[in-house]
């Protein structure tokens, strides 16, 4: 029987062995490239930690945010900002916003910016005090939205990173 021509040059090994050998080399290459990439300044660490259910909002914000992102606002600060007339912007989807929200918050779903942008932002000035929030630890939409708002020229933004869950848990008024 003529030898079976296989990609990779092997001629007599079972295909499963070739799959394993090639996959192992591709994996090794990937680890090597990742190791090399890890020396660049913007890399993450091999033992880097990311927020879990028991990470506090402030810790989670520090793990997730970039230095240029809007600064963190704690629950106490969010309450004070709310009382002081800051405009709260809810980055979650319209369905979640409909279920419950911080009173007088405006909905600007990050994944549907264009449809909601005009209604949410048209009457605001660039220096209007804004507070973005979403679904708390594990939700990155408020960070993404904060970046979008910065790009649109808004200069006074805070990120209430504990978000709607923290507000609700504190027994504060919720609008439906």
């Amino acid at each position: 029987m003529p030898p079976v021509a296989l990609s990779g040059g092997a001629r007599s090994r079972p295909p499963a062995a070739i799959v394993l050998a090639q996959a192992a080399v591709l994996l090794l290459l990937s680890f090597a490239a990742a190791a090399a990439r890890s020396y660049l300044p913007d890399s993450i660490r091999w033992n880097g930690r990311w927020p879990t259910a028991d990470t506090s909002a402030e810790q989670a914000y520090k793990m997730m945010a970039q230095p240029t992102d809007p600064p963190f606002a704690s629950l106490a600060e969010a309450i004070a900002l709310h009382g002081g007339g800051a405009v709260f912007i809810d980055a979650r989807a319209a369905e979640e916003f409909a279920v419950g929200r911080i009173p007088r918050a405006r909905n600007l779903p990050f994944y549907d910016l264009e449809a909601h942008e005009k209604a949410a932002l048209a009457d605001l000035k660039p220096d209007t005090r804004l507070v973005v929030y979403c679904e708390g630890v594990g939700c990155e939409l408020s960070l993404f939205l904060g970046r979008e708002l910065q790009a649109r020229g808004f200069t006074d933004i805070r990120d209430f990173y504990g978000g709607f869950p923290e507000w609700q848990k504190a027994g504060l008024e919720v609008e439906k």
Partner: protein, 142 residues
């Protein structure tokens, strides 16, 4: 095999390779954003999130490259199929658990993981399996 079928197989291989090369790019450039997205799926133990987010984009890159340049088809398409199976399962679990997560498929913050994502992942998984079946040697080896 006729010319049309050969062309179709080549198109399938190149498309799959190009999708993986494209998918790897933003994740390699912004590993932190990708790690956040991986973490949001709440599937991996915390200690594995960073290594996963650092290595998988490169695996996508090398497998995509292998598919495009038509080398190591068995290993590359088996890995691509395995990755697509894992990604599809992750999206399905996120949807089933009602997590509102960013897909983490291509660009950071690009789009949410939705039923459409699941359908696209299933299509890519099917393409990878078809390609694997095509490159699998047909004759017995001894």
């Amino acid at each position: 095999m006729n010319r049309g079928a050969a062309l179709a197989w080549t198109a399938l291989r190149l498309t799959l390779g190009a999708v993986f090369l494209y998918a790897s790019y933003h994740k390699i450039v912004t590993p932190g954003a990708f790690a956040q997205e991986v973490n949001n799926y709440k599937l991996l133990p915390p200690a594995l999130v960073s290594p996963f987010a650092m290595v998988i984009p490169w695996l996508e890159f090398f497998c995509g490259l292998a598919l495009v340049v038509n080398r190591w088809q068995l290993g590359a398409s088996a890995l691509v199929a395995a990755m697509m199976a894992a990604f599809t399962a992750a999206v399905a679990l996120a949807l089933a658990r009602g997590l509102n997560v960013s897909c983490g498929c291509f660009k950071s913050g690009g789009s949410a993981a939705t039923w459409l994502t699941l359908a696209r992942d299933l299509a890519l998984l099917a393409a990878a399996l078809l390609h694997l079946r095509r490159v699998w040697p047909r004759k017995k080896w001894n």
